[in-house]
């Protein structure tokens, strides 16, 4: 073997490594991936999602790795999860199935007017839509960014995969990151928008009892109404209500346990890895995905404000006043948002237990967010 042949062989071997393709962009993405791993492991911010997302970002941004592309027409591992789980919108629907199997709608059924707080908290979705268009996004992109404020990860993924898949990684990351930061983002807004007297409004310590029959009827009623009014979002809501029906019927405990347990865990792993893997440097490090983070924060803030404002308007018409501190829970960040309401309610009135009322508002938001998504989807049907 001559020296030239040897050098060619060495050069060819070197080109199969990733070293020669490393640039500043992939290094930035490594840092971003490691940052999310730090948030998940050290700060324990939404670790179930941020850990697989962070690792997916870290892994896929090594050059020449056969992870997120196609080999001879066949999707590689993470591309397979992404294409058939996210783009085909299977994973968000399965997550909603699991969530339905874990959710108790009793606080909402006992006090259905909390649904209006969930509706009012979608204000940020539509305000951010406008701001996003002003920044040069298209209508479809604006709709997918706006839904971040609903604090509903599966709905964000569902809508973004339909309307603006190139923003999927940024939107999903923004949604889950800000959901984890609800205890940081919401309290200042709750303080600014409420008076001392309003924060001390005492609400009933207990809600009316809800029968098992009502809990069984709820998914049927809710599913039927949503199917008639906003059919575009039925893949999500249908699964949500099916999971809830399984739980409330009590006759399929194994299915319920599987849906809310191992199935959710498996789907969450694939979701996190797929979303993280879609954050490749060339796509993520550009104007629009990075602006999504700023817009997402604004969106959350306005949604929180929308929920609080809705409570204030409702108080003009109701006899039993509602404490506006539960307005933040219209953003469906279960269970952090109701916890924030509870903690801050107790701070101003040590006899004020707002948790169950806030849960009702939060559950209202869990219906309001898909309803808003359905309204946005209908724009493009």
């Amino acid at each position: 073997m001559s020296l030239n042949e040897l050098l060619d062989l060495l050069m060819g071997t070197l080109q199969t490594t990733g070293f020669i393709y490393v640039g500043w962009k992939v290094m930035v993405m490594w840092c971003i991936g490691l940052f999310f791993l730090y948030m998940a492991i050290v700060k324990e911010f939404e670790p179930n999602l941020l850990l697989p997302i962070g690792f997916g970002i870290f892994l896929v941004n090594f050059p020449n790795t056969p992870l997120f592309g196609y080999t001879e027409g066949h999707p590689q591992l993470l591309q397979f999860f992404y294409k058939y789980g996210i783009i085909w919108e299977v994973i968000p629907c399965l997550i909603f199935l699991g969530l339905g199997a874990m959710t108790d709608f009793g606080p909402l059924i006992a006090n259905p007017k909390m649904l209006l707080i969930g509706a009012g908290a979608q204000l940020g979705v539509f305000v951010t839509f406008t701001g996003t268009i002003l920044l040069g996004f298209t209508i479809k992109e604006a709709a997918s960014v706006g839904i971040i404020g609903g604090a509903d990860g599966p709905t964000t993924i569902y809508l973004t995969a339909r309307l603006a898949p190139h923003l999927l990684s940024a939107n999903t990351l923004a949604a889950y990151s800000y959901m984890a930061m609800v205890p940081l983002i919401q309290p200042p807004i709750m303080r600014w928008m409420t008076t001392d007297a309003e924060r001390k409004i005492q609400m009933k310590t207990t809600l009316r009892p809800v029968s098992k029959t009502e809990k069984i009827l709820y998914p049927l009623i809710c599913g039927g109404i949503i199917a008639l009014l906003v059919p575009a979002v039925m893949p999500l809501m249908g699964m949500f209500m099916f999971g809830n029906l399984m739980k409330e019927s009590g006759v399929v405990p194994r299915l319920t346990a599987t849906a809310g347990g191992p199935m959710m865990d498996v789907v969450t792993i694939f979701l996190g890895l797929s979303v993280g893997a879609s954050m490749v440097a060339e796509q993520f490090l550009s104007f629009k995905p990075l602006m999504v983070f700023g817009l997402g924060l604004f969106d959350f803030a306005v949604c929180t404000a929308g929920g609080i404002l809705t409570v204030k308007v409702m108080n003009l018409f109701v006899k039993d006043k509602i404490n506006p501190l539960i307005g933040n829970s219209g953003v469906s960040a279960i269970p952090m948002a109701p916890r924030v309401s509870q903690v801050w309610g107790l701070k101003y009135n040590k006899r004020n237990y707002l948790l169950m009322h806030a849960m009702g508002a939060c559950l209202g938001g869990s219906i309001g967010s898909p309803a808003a998504a359905g309204m946005l989807l209908a724009m493009f049907d």
């Binding site: 990733g18 393709y21 940052f35 700060k43 896929v60 941004n61 090594f62 050059p63 020449n64 790795t65 056969p66 992870l67 997120f68 592309g69 196609y70 080999t71 909402l108 259905p112 649904l115 209006l116 509706a119 539509f126 839509f129 406008t130 298209t138 209508i139 479809k140 992109e141 190139h166 930061m181 940081l184 009502e214 009827l217 709820y218 009623i221 809710c222 109404i225 949503i226 009014l229 906003v230 490749v280 060339e282 490090l285 550009s286 104007f287 629009k288 995905p289 990075l290 602006m291 983070f293 700023g294 209202g364 219906i367 309001g368 309803a371 808003a372 309204m375 946005l376 209908a378 493009f380």
Partner: protein, 196 residues
Amino acid sequence: MSLFLIVIGTVLALAVLGITLLQASPEAPKEAVTNPPGAQPGGPTSAEAVKGPVDSALVIPKGPQWMGAPIMPGGSPLQGEPTRQNYELNLPYNQVLAWYKDALKRYPDARYRDWKEEMYIEDQGGSKWHAIIISKTGGPKTTVTLVKDNWTWIWATLIIRFIGVFVVLLVLWLGLNIAGFIMQRFIKEEKAGAKA
């Protein structure tokens, strides 16, 4: 509090980085086609490109256009406004529609709404036009109206849809109240029956 400041600082830093990238990149093309790192030149794999929104001006056939919307040749311009342009063509509706479908065949964000009196071609992408309206006169002449993107449509549709969310949840509230009322009546009657 310090963590809150770190988070806000990170968000602002990302936003500044985004703006810097926007200003640094030359006349960014409307079509963004990217490949994952594994598909770099010399890499062992090929990858499916992920496309962003496209400006129609880049994909329609060369010829007269308004805000990126194609203008069918041979039309007589009628009185227009800065936000609307009207043209009259001496062709039946079907031929005009066929021409526009052909002109827009490479534009993926055109949505065709076949209404009773007109064909409404709506832009759902990144172009500056909002709609192309082709009237169904049924005669030898056809009017084509080109409409520019406008805030009136955006505000109106957003307000209607926000109210729509309230309507959906109000209907659900009504349904739950009725179901709750009926259930509570049944429970009271059962308890009364059991006592008797």
